[in-house]
Symmetry: C2
Subunit: 452 residues, 2 copies
């Protein structure tokens, strides 16, 4: 049995290595080689990567090293090894999306955020396993804490690579619960920024509520990754992109949080609920007011409306995926999993009028969420209804995440808890475009709760 | 010199051919063969197509014929030959986007709207010339009325194929003025529906104000094409899609129109301005109230704000195109035109903060436009500041179109006028999501003005 302890579990960090690059006591190449050593040891079991470009990464790390030697790094993440979820295009590696439809596909170009990372000097080391087309059908990756369990999905490889200490940062993406849940399962820090904050160009992630997110070993590295992407590659077209300064917001105690249940609470196990109550008790001890649906009619109204967030998110996105999925299905058997075919059959029955109704229901949930802005600084809940379930046939339950995906709200998963010897994430959520503010709260909570 | 006369100029129509398919007096295959005859005659001069799939089209037309023979056509556009702007993916033809970057590229799949057209039984005949990546650098196409003139762009081949009578309908797209202007230049009917009305999936047209539009020989065929796309393929993700019934709205006289000048009016030639005034005089004679900026402070406010619509649209879109264009530029010389490189260099200087400012200015224009909704049923203006300019080195001036693109408003170009022996389009504009209403007005105006 795994015996994960959030206070002692070590993740890779990058931001604290840079000073040594500058003074010559360490180099990006040496940092990369240490990552490669961990990968060599852990990858046979964890299987986080679809493909690695070790030669390319070594070359990029050496170039980064030269820049540090000259005192001219390109950014705060110059030299940082990073992995890319295999839904996004990379010019030097295939993009296969966990699907036979895309087997061997090479686009010859970098997705917008990948190009941004390279321009910032980051070292793109490999492509990370995703579930089928970023949905539910699992890939090969195993949980790095207990290889008999799922790492979560769809950002399976991204979360596992961080949890295994292979990388300091990895790109994921979330439609419903694909960043925050696997981060919680693998003991990562991760952020799903506000909808539209990071440019999704060049990835098969163009749904009306999909987001690029970042898994990392620290809040600082996750924030730096987001900030550099946004400021080089922008946000999604038509969106203002990530707000906030290069330096992550200073740790700040929130005055008032809403404890959100969402539909996931009823499905959470007792130990996980108790663990969260421990965090809430600590928050109260620190002087934070924590309210819930029993305390405020607007919170109760939001909880009631968002009860359908998971199912509504899935049906909205599957409607949006009728193209291209119907075309893939027409190519013959074996192109889509039975899971996907089932969901697609449901979506096929929907009309444009049905879709409009779904969008209207989503807008109602968003309005109820926005109405809470005067009531609190943000929200706290679990990243998942429990720790990673045993077995690899399911990537787990996203019911704790749908409410944040459907509202486009920024969310962090923080590795504060252990249940059943496994990590359990605490989800800290802000209001849209207040990514910096919730980051300050996340830093404060990490420091306060873990003494980090 | 050309001697175009809108009253006698013949465009191909499809909706009125269907009755003969049903009773066996005509067939989709025979209709297609007549299109191919025109193409054989006119294409060497007009050069509207990048590639034709004649065998595939004949097969599709024969299958359509069988459906009519069995009394089971798939839709109102079953058997309709159509061409696709070469910005959009087709599974049976390459997608090359008027750019060396994409030379020979075959995606192996249909764009969302192309799949929709095929599911409706339409006969996808070929890919139509676009300017470089849908921007300004011209392709090979010539104006079908006068081959010494531009057909306009970026939907150059789409407009020319309709104007030459090669096809009853063709897909175009508009970011600033790429459907309405070339339609006006080539004597087409064309609609740029409300932003988001037709699914852009599977095309390199993902900017925050790009639209799929339809060129056709009749309002009826253009509407039927839009309706079938929207109801099979949906609108853009997150958008409600095209509103309106399968049958185009009945011809209806608007009570009140705003004559919009936009920045283009100052650049329009006298003959073109006079020609529009003739239409306005006829409207007034028919009892339509036509007001302008001199009559209403809100109209004047909108005219003032939208003066920057063209330049603002371009810089917004070029910022959004930094990815992928910067990556293309890095591949070496010859990948992008000097025009594109110049625009890109401008966009490179912009920051994310600048982009936010541009979006805010766009929102202001949209708000001023929306404020006019209580004042009129819609708008009338020219489709371009004059007829197609001589020469092929420029695709003409989009200054009459930017105001409608930046607001996402639905717009028709109607071939009502002739100036200098060339077609001149009248642009009829509605409010967002009122595509059906402006279609009724367009049908009424066509009938009233041309006696069609």
């Amino acid at each position: 049995m795994a015996s994960y302890d959030p206070k002692t579990f070590k993740l890779l960090t990058f931001h604290d290595a840079v000073a040594k690059f500058r003074d010559g006591k360490d180099t990006p190449r040496a940092y990369l080689e240490r990552c490669l050593d961990v990968i060599e040891t852990r990858e046979p079991e964890v299987q986080a990567f679809v493909v690695l470009n070790i030669d390319g990464a070594r070359k990029a790390a050496d170039e980064s090293g030269k820049r540090y030697a000259e005192g001219k790094p390109l950014s705060t993440i110059d030299g940082m090894p990073i992995g890319i979820k295999d839904l996004f295009e990379t010019m030097d590696m295939p993009t296969q999306m966990g699907s036979p439809v895309w087997k061997g596909w090479e686009s010859g170009r970098d997705a917008a955020h990948v190009r941004g990372l390279r321009k910032a000097g980051s070292v793109v080391l490999g492509k990370l396993v995703t579930t089928e087309l970023g949905f539910s059908f699992p890939g090969k990756t195993r949980n790095p804490i207990d290889s008999g369990r799922t790492p979560g999905g769809s950002s399976s490889g991204s979360a596992a690579a961080i949890g295994a200490g292979m990388l300091p940062a990895a790109i994921g993406s979330q439609v419903v619960g694909s960043v925050i849940r696997p981060a919680g399962y693998c003991g990562n820090v991760a952020i799903k920024p506000t909808f539209g904050a990071l440019n999704r160009g060049g990835g098969h992630s163009s749904l009306s509520q999909s987001h690029i997110g970042v898994h990392a070993g620290s809040i600082e590295d996750a924030w730096a990754t987001c900030w550099n992407i946004a400021n080089i590659a922008g946000g999604d077209v038509g969106h203002p992109g990530l707000y906030g300064a290069l330096e992550p917001a200073a740790p700040a105690k929130p005055a008032r949080l809403i404890q959100l249940e969402t539909a996931g609470w009823a499905q959470a196990d007792e130990a996980s609920k108790e663990a969260l109550q421990g965090v809430v008790a600590e928050l109260r001890k620190q002087g934070v007011t924590v309210i819930g649906k029993a305390d405020d009619a607007d919170v109760a109204a939001y909880e009631a409306l968002s009860a359908e967030a998971l199912e509504l998110s899935i049906i909205i996105c599957m409607f949006e995926l009728r193209w291209p999925l119907l075309g893939y299905r027409e190519r013959g058997p074996g192109m889509l999993s039975d899971f996907m075919l089932g969901r697609l059959a449901d979506a096929e029955k929907q009309t444009l009028e049905d879709y409009r109704d779904m969008l209207a229901r989503r807008e109602k949930i968003r309005a109820a969420f926005a109405a809470l802005k005067s009531k609190a600084d943000g929200f706290i809940t679990l990243s998942s209804p429990g720790p990673a379930p045993k077995g690899l046939e399911s990537t787990g339950n996203p019911s704790m995440n749908a409410a944040m995906s459907i509202t486009g709200a920024p969310a962090w998963s923080l590795p504060l808890l252990a249940v059943d010897g496994m990590p359990l994430g605490v989800q800290l959520v802000g209001f849209p475009h207040e990514d910096a503010k919730v980051t300050g709260h996340a830093r404060w909570l990490m420091g306060t709760y873990l003494g980090a």
